[in-house]
Amino acid sequence: MTTPTLSPLDRSLAALLDEAGFTRAEPPLLMAADLVRDLAGEALARRLYLTTDADGAELCLRPDYTIPVVKAHLEGPRAREAAAYSYLGPVFRHRQGMAGEFLQGGIEWLGRADREAAEADVIAIAMKVARLYVQGPLKLALGDVGIFLGLTQALDLSPAWRRRLAKDFRRSGMLADDLKRLAEPSGGPIHSGLLAALQGSDPQAARDLVTDLLSIAGISTVGGRSAGDIAERLLEQAALGSGGLAPDKAAVIERVLAIDADPLTAEAELRAIAAEANLDMGAALDRLAHRHALLEKAGVNLGAARFSTRFGRDVDYYTGLVFEIHDGTGTVDKPLIGGGRYDRLTEMMTAKLGLDLAVPAVGCGIWVERLALAGGRA
């Protein structure tokens, strides 16, 4: 196994990002493994190359750039300002049957309040980058996690169901089961008698009762959940009752999730469904329309792109836009470039660092080896 080196094209990529005004980030190769486990979860943690320092602290070789780049920005003196970073270098992940060390490029736009403009910028640059390598057809796939989250809000679902749908939306295959279950009345939850008794009672009084019961048993905060947390969820379960989702609501979800068209058609279909079902999704749809207008202005051909409401990415910190650029000839199966809005990652990181700061973030990873392959240069 040899260390991957930059090709002349990779160097042109670095120059392109440099000219576009991105600051080249060079985070250390070694980082705290804890940070990855906390932020990206076990899906990525299981692929880490791990080691320990003399004090026993667990370190890993960086599995991607996003986490260390965002961390360095938030810990720096300009954490409150907008910043654009680029990177290009080796990252390390266990990959079955493939080299564990490979090159990754990418860009991150942090702290920009003009969200849709930042998103359009990232996609426009990403298309330019792909063109640098690939002369043949490219496919742009778009989605927006925010649309689905907005829908669950507008449908007035219980918090438990909202949480669950939001989570399963990000995991392929689980949503269909959920929808089936939503449509059917559920079997009674645990302690159904107690829950039935609590249903409809004054929330504060019910909460106090459960908290009292737990404290009689000598239980305060166990395993990171307070008696209040436990009481609250019990009450949520009570509110859930045994009824399923009204069939008309389930039908609306199905219809929204069936949308898969060019972005402007998809936008029109979403508006039509929202109007017909009397859903308040105006804000989410206006943002979508604004982004589409900006993309067209930036010269991205929307007619050749595809927008799918089901498209969620398997990294669970995306909160809005998601996109992937694919090889149109199908030579390379996996995405050449992929990214989106990941406010949830910066939110977790500021919480971890103890910063009272909201940092909007959008960016993408560039798989330079796949690009070279798709461009017939590998």
């Binding site: 486990r37 989570k167 399963d168 995991r171 689980m174 737990l214 990171g224 019990l234």
Partner: protein, 322 residues
């Protein structure tokens, strides 16, 4: 090229493993005193015995530096993310039984299933802006089980020992650990989720698929597995012997269908000598039947080995090695 056979040097599994090896005629002789970690087995010149912890045995099997070993099913799955590709279980051994389970604080009265846990994990993350922590030494088992239940909002905190104390110590919210009676979990105010049994584990005889299997190593394995299978066969039956003139082929057929006996050496001799192998539960019924049919006396003995032409454990190994 010798065959390396790894057996547990310590822990819960040790005593049962020793008993098993002794019964199977594979009792190792430790070289130069008790502190030597290598040994031999009398009568098997090309077998080297390595004394290791059960978890190291699983790791060495996966790495291919050990050919055969005694280890737990749980540890097999922990030693490598792809146990099927690297290891093959030749037979479960029936001892060191324990369950790998998901356990949460008893105070979580709103949580009794994995689906509840899934919901609580999402809620926890939304509220604390961090992931719920699971203390465990079972990284692979935890990840694949949580994956199967669609739980993503968690992270693992690796714990080498006293895992059950982690929630009380504030090091984790919940645990995945091994339990036999559940008493330790209860003592730590933890409860197992209704559908939270990840694996029912026990000791297995395991072979490495990645070790260098020379002809000589295969020959040694064939001998060892023959002893083990013969011993296992012997444990399933008692030997029943009798002699009476009325004993004939028809009587043997009836005994076979009524008591599930086998006649390993064929029907009665001309003088009516008969040897049967009988499942222990049928023993008294059979002896009554034989006396009713004319036997004056019936003797029953334990068997050490029943060798047979076929060698099923070796066939499993050979099939796995290809």
């Amino acid at each position: 090229m010798t065959l390396v056979f790894a057996i547990p040097s310590k822990g819960r599994i040790l005593e049962s493993a020793q008993g098993f090896l002794e019964r199977s005629g594979l009792k190792p002789v430790q070289g130069r005193g008790a502190r030597d970690y290598r040994g031999t087995i009398p009568g098997l010149a090309h077998v080297e015995v390595a004394f290791l912890s059960a978890s190291d045995i699983a790791k060495e099997l996966a790495a291919g530096s050990v050919h055969l070993g005694l280890t737990g099913l749980d540890l097999m799955h922990e030693a490598t993310p792809e146990p099927e590709d690297r290891l093959v279980s030749l037979t479960p051994l029936g001892f060191s039984r324990a369950d790998v389970v998901v356990a949460v604080p008893q105070a979580w009265i709103d949580v009794s299933t994995m689906a509840d846990l899934d919901d609580v994990a999402s809620q926890y993350r939304a509220r604390h802006r961090s992931r719920m922590r699971v203390a465990t030494k079972y990284l692979n088992l935890t990840r694949s089980f949580f994956d199967r239940h669609g739980i993503a909002d968690y992270r693992i905190v690796e714990s080498a020992g006293a895992t059950e104390g982690s929630p009380a110590a504030g090091a984790a919210e919940m645990i995945v650990d091994i339990t036999t009676t559940g008493a330790t979990l209860s003592a730590n105010a933890l409860k197992v989720l209704d559908d939270g049994v990840i694996m029912k584990s026990e000791a297995h005889l395991v072979a490495s698929r990645t070790a260098a299997w020379s002809e000589r190593a295969r020959d040694s394995a064939r001998d060892m597995l023959d002893r083990i299978a013969s011993q296992a066969r012997a444990r399933k039956v008692k030997e029943v012997r009798t002699r009476f003139t009325a004993a004939d082929a028809g009587l043997v057929e009836e005994a076979k269908s009524r008591f599930g006996v086998e006649a390993p050496f064929g029907g009665p001799t001309s003088s009516g000598m008969l040897t049967l192998h009988c499942p222990p539960t049928q023993l008294f019924g059979l002896s009554r039947y034989l006396r009713d049919r004319g036997a004056d006396s019936v003797s029953v003995t334990e068997l050490d080995y029943v060798f047979s032409r076929d060698n099923p454990l070796y066939e499993t190994l050979a099939a796995a090695l290809g």
